[in-house]
């Protein structure tokens, strides 16, 4: 495209042994379907994934650097929020 770039998409892939879709990168595409095929070609060509999500980057609301302290600093001294005071049974995975 010479006059206008295709919109940016963010790509999330669920790996073969992964539990969640994980952000792996971004790409340009003209529409959702093209974004999926591009994601398949760019991010799963080494046998990485079994499922892909794509979303227009502009649809992602993100916290900003300015909000870093009010957002995240208050949790730093509240150790009691961690479940480290419980014994987790051996047969409970992924915690």
């Amino acid at each position: 495209m010479t006059q206008q770039d295709w919109p940016l998409y963010e790509v999330f892939v669920r790996g073969k042994r992964g539990l969640n879709h994980v952000h792996v990168g971004s790409l340009h595409a003209a529409d959702d379907q093209m974004a999926l095929t591009h994601a398949r070609d760019l991010y799963t060509r080494r046998n990485e994934g079994v499922s892909i999500w794509v979303v227009l980057s502009e649809h992602i609301a993100a916290s900003t650097r300015d909000e870093k302290d009010p957002f995240f600093a208050p949790s730093a001294d509240k150790v009691y929020r961690h479940p480290t005071f419980y014994d987790i049974p051996d047969d409970v995975p992924h915690i």
Binding site: R17, L19, H28, R46, N47
Partner: protein, 283 residues
Amino acid sequence: MSEDHLYLTLAEGHEDDARWAFGTGFEDPLHGVDTTVPAGVDAAGLAACCLALGDDALVSAQRLAEWTTRAPELEEEVALANIGLDLLGQARLLYARCGQVDGSERGEDAYAYFRDADAFRNVRLAELPNGDFAFSVVRLLVLSAWRLALFERLAGCADPVLAAIAAKGVKELTYHRQYAAEWAVRLGDGTDESHRRMRAALADVYPYVDELLATGPGFGIDTEDVREEVTAVLGQVLDAAGLDLPDVRPLPGSGRDGDRTEHLAPLLAELQSVARAHPEATW
């Protein structure tokens, strides 16, 4: 479980070879397949079939690779190269099978690098220069629609090796056809300029289509049955793209009989130059 990053999870379970960049967890499509030619299978016919399909794939792969650094978008460049690599993989397996059954005991490299243009049996459509992106789209659509229809049938053929190669190829070709069909619709139903280019591409490709559809692989596969399916698929895509079949005559001759255009020899000169300059090299 390394949940930090997807690529870290890839190396898990592959401690001996934990270099995920080279790929992990791959499957050998021919694992456990008996390579002896079954009784009743015509070895010469099988070899000719593997050679023709291998040549289609190798020459197509080279043309697709030529889009690298020249594609209209980075993402398309990778997509086209991926498709080319799928076809290159198919060519390797088909050449290897050819060498097992034609009595020559040649390896895959002998077929790819040490034959001249007049020994190739690919359809001429595969060797035409890339030209416009629309031409590459239409060519890929036609070739992948035909190859998919054929491989679906070959997956049940009497030779277990060719059947396994075809079964692997079906999954790849389904994607190739989808990729090409999406672009055909996008361009055909796009702007006046993209529609015009698609019409021109169809007019350039279709004289070569009959040569492709007229040849059968043997194994009792009905060539007319394949032709009907491919014609229906192409009709469906062109309908969705708002394009009509061009009114063109089939070109006489056939690449399957050794008829070549002037474009194959230069393609092979580039493809084969390194292997011929260093014939004892291994890689």
